[in-house]
Assembly symmetry: C2
Homo-oligomer: 402 residues x 2
C-alpha cells in the first residue's frame, strides 16, 4: 500500500483525488501497489466533501507520518511549496508536482536532494499539462542529441490568438471575453506577457541541456502588442501568429526566447489551436517529433501528477533517470540570434525602409497608411539598428523559419 | 560495459550502429554504462566496413556468449527472427526489435518469456518509427483509461495520399513515382493494402487493452480504390483522405479497423503529411493527445531501437512495465460499427439512393454523370444493405467523426 498526501485541495489537487478514484483499478495495476490518499493539506475545511476526514491543516502531520511516501504538491507558488517539498525530500518522501514556478526556480536543488535521499522529485505536470513531454524527454529520446525545442506552452494566449485569427478581433476585446469565460485570469499578466511560457521552456531547455537554464535569462515578449491588422497580414502570407517558447543549441551558442512568431500553414504547430499546447522537438537522429494535447485543465494536469505517483510507486527506494545538474547554462545574448522579421511602418517611411533594409519583400493588404514587408535573415542587433535608423515601426513580428 | 549484438546489418541494423557511434557519449551517460557492439549477425560479409571484424554468420556465437546481454533484432520477417528472439530471451538476454510482424504475431509469448527470465522484450521501433509511442503508452499514460487510438501508421500510403491531394493525381501514377523514388516497394502490397498499418494498430490496441488483439481479426482495407475524383469531392467538403488505423473501446464492444477515411481540415491528423506518421490517443482523463514524427527511415527507427537498449541497460535483471497478456480480446464484428459514409453513385441511381438513404447531404463538384452524397450515421450493415439494394456504388469512403 502506497500512502499519498495531497498538498492543496484546489483545482489540480482535487483533480488528483478524482483521477485516482476514477481509474483506481488500472492505476493500482500499473503501480503494482494499492494507493491510499491519507491526507489532504489545505487551509480550508471541506464540510460534506467525501474526503473531509482526510483534510489536515498542519503540514507536520504529513511530514512526521512515516507511512506517507509520496506527496503530490499541487499548491502552486514558490513559498511555502519550496519549503514543504524540500522537507519532504529530506525525509525521503517523493514529491510529484504541477508547480512550474517552483520547478523552474529550484528544480536542480530539489532533484539533487531526491537523488541523495533515494526518492524522486517528478514534474510531468509542470509543462504542457496533460501532454506527456517530461517522461518522453527523459526516458524515450535517450538515443538523441536534442538540438531544438519549440513549444506552444500557454493555453490562455493560444486561445486568445486563435480567436483573433478566426474572428479578426483585437487583443483587448478577446482578452475580456476570455476573462469572462474563465479562460484568462483577472490579472492576466503571467500569461499574456509570456512569463508562464518562460518558466516552462526553462524546464524543457534544462532537460535538453542536462544543466540549468535560468528562466531569468530567457528573453520574453508577450502578445499584448499583437493587433487585428497583424493577422490580416499574416493571412495574406498564409501564416498565423502564435506565442512560441523556444530554445536552440547552435554552434554560436545556446539561444532561448519567448515571443510571438509568424508561422506557416504547413508547420505542424500551425494547427495547434485554442487551449491546446504542443511541443516540437528536433533530435539529430530522429529529426522532428511533436507532442500535442491539453496544456492545462483540472483532469489532464492531475492525470500527469498521478502518472508521476505511479512512477514513484514502481521504484521504491530508487531515483529514476533525470539529468538536470545544478550548473548554469550560458544563455547567449539574443542580439546575436538570427531570423527574418515581418515589419509594419508608416507609408511615409517607405523610402527609408527600402534604403535601410535593402532587399525586402513587400506585403500589401490594402492598408493605405502603411508599408509592410518581410526582411531577409539578419541578427536581432542588425534589425534593431535599422529600425532605430528609420525612426521605429508600428509593429514587428519574428518569422519562424521552416 | 553492456555488450550488444545486432541481428541483420541492413538499413535499420546499420542505423543502430550509426546512432550508437554518433551519440555514444550521451547514450552511455543515460544508460549509466558503456556500450560495446560485440557482434553483427548477417549472411553477408562487409569487406572494408569499419565493423567488418564484428560480423558473424552463426547465431550460436552470439547465443553462447554470456557477455552479450542485449540483442537488437533488426532482421524483419517472422522466421528466423522469432526463433532467434525466443532463444535469446530463454537465455536471459534482452531483445530490442523493430520487427512489427513478429511483435504483432508473437508479442505476448515473447514478453512473457522475458518476464520469466528477468529480461526484456522491447519494441519501441515497431510502431511509428522514430515517434516515441510505446513508452508513452506504457510509462506515461499510466493514470488513464485509453478508449481510442487513431493513427496514420504507414509512411508510404501517407506519402501517396498527400501527393494525390496536392497534385490531383491518380493512385497508379503516384504509386509509380513513389516506387521510382524508393518511397514504395516494388511489391507495394503490404503498404497499399493496409497490412503494415494493421500489424501496427494490433500492437497499439493490445497495449491499450493489456490483452492480445489479433491482427488477423482487424478489418483491413487499402487505398488502391481511391481516385483523383475522390479528392475533388474531399476538397469540396474541406476534407482530405487518409489511411487510418484505429481502435475504439466502446460499450458495444471493441472495434478495430484499417481503412481510408475522409478527415476534416480542423482535425490534428489532417496536417500529418508525406512520410510523417502520427498517433492520436484519447484517454478518459486527459482527453486528446497526439504523437507525431517520422514513421520510418534508417536513423529514426534505429534511434528508437537504441532507446530500448538504454532501457535494458538501466534495468539489469529487471523486466520493465509492459501489460500485454496472452489472452485474446474479442474484436467486435465491423458490421455493427457506426459512422457516416461518403458515397458516389451513377447519376441514374439518384432516385434510388434518395429512397434508400432518406436524409442525405448532396456533394456537387460538377461531375455530370455522378450523384455524390454524405449519409447520416448508420451501422456498416445498414449501409451495406442499402448500397446492395441500389445496385452498388462507384466508391464509398468512411468519414471520421470529429
Amino acid at each position: 500500500m502506497i500512502h499519498v498526501a495531497v498538498l492543496g485541495y484546489g483545482t489540480v489537487g482535487s483533480g488528483v483525488v478524482e483521477v485516482i478514484e476514477t481509474n483506481k483499478k488500472d492505476i493500482e495495476k500499473r503501480a503494482a501497489a494499492r494507493l491510499n490518499i491519507k491526507y489532504i493539506l489545505d487551509l480550508r475545511d471541506f464540510p460534506g466533501d467525501p474526503y473531509e476526514s482526510k483534510v489536515v491543516h498542519d503540514y507536520n502531520v504529513i511530514l512526521n507520518d512515516p507511512e506517507v511516501t509520496v506527496i503530490c504538491e499541487t499548491m502552486g507558488g514558490v513559498h511555502p511549496a519550496y519549503e514543504f517539498s524540500r522537507q519532504a525530500l529530506l525525509a525521503g518522501k517523493s514529491v510529484c508536482t504541477s508547480n512550474k514556478e517552483l520547478v523552474a526556480s529550484h528544480g536542480p536543488e530539489l532533484i539533487s536532494i531526491a537523488r541523495e535521499k533515494h526518492c524522486n522529485y517528478l514534474f510531468e505536470a509542470s509543462v504542457g499539462g496533460g501532454i506527456p513531454i517530461i517522461r518522453p524527454l527523459n526516458y524515450s529520446l535517450t538515443a538523441e542529441k536534442i538540438d531544438s525545442i519549440t513549444g506552444i506552452l500557454n493555453g490562455t494566449t493560444n486561445y486568445i490568438l486563435t480567436k483573433m485569427d478566426k474572428e479578426g478581433a483585437d487583443f483587448e476585446e478577446v482578452l475580456k471575453e476570455a476573462q469572462e469565460k474563465g479562460y484568462a485570469e483577472k490579472n492576466p499578466e503571467a500569461d499574456v506577457e509570456g512569463y508562464d511560457a518562460c518558466r516552462k521552456i526553462a524546464i524543457l531547455s534544462s532537460l535538453m541541456c542536462s544543466k540549468n537554464v535560468r528562466y531569468e535569462e530567457i528573453y520574453t515578449e508577450g502578445i499584448t502588442k499583437i493587433s487585428a491588422a497583424d493577422f490580416v497580414y499574416a493571412k495574406q502570407m498564409n501564416k498565423s501568429i502564435k506565442l512560441l517558447a523556444m530554445s536552440r543549441d547552435k554552434k554560436e551558442g545556446f539561444f532561448a526566447m519567448v515571443a510571438p512568431f509568424m508561422i506557416s500553414r504547413t508547420h505542424p504547430l500551425y494547427s495547434v489551436n485554442d487551449v491546446f499546447n504542443a511541443v516540437y522537438v528536433h533530435g539529430n537522429m530522429l529529426g522532428d517529433s511533436m507532442y500535442y494535447g491539453r496544456g492545462a485543465g483540472k483532469l489532464p494536469t492531475a492525470s500527469a501528477v498521478v502518472s508521476d505517483v505511479v512512477d514513484c510507486a514502481r521504484h521504491p527506494g530508487k531515483t529514476v533517470m533525470c539529468f538536470w545538474e545544478n550548473e548554469d547554462v550560458k544563455v547567449a545574448d539574443i542580439e546575436s540570434d538570427q531570423g527574418k522579421f515581418f515589419v509594419r511602418v508608416k507609408s511615409g517611411q517607405k523610402e527609408e525602409a527600402l534604403a535601410a533594409f535593402g532587399s525586402l519583400a513587400e506585403i500589401n493588404v490594402g492598408i493605405a497608411e502603411e508599408f509592410a514587408f518581410m526582411t531577409q535573415v539578419m541578427t536581432e542587433k542588425e534589425f534593431n539598428d535599422r529600425i532605430e535608423k528609420i525612426g521605429g515601426c508600428i509593429n514587428r513580428i519574428r518569422i519562424l523559419s521552416a
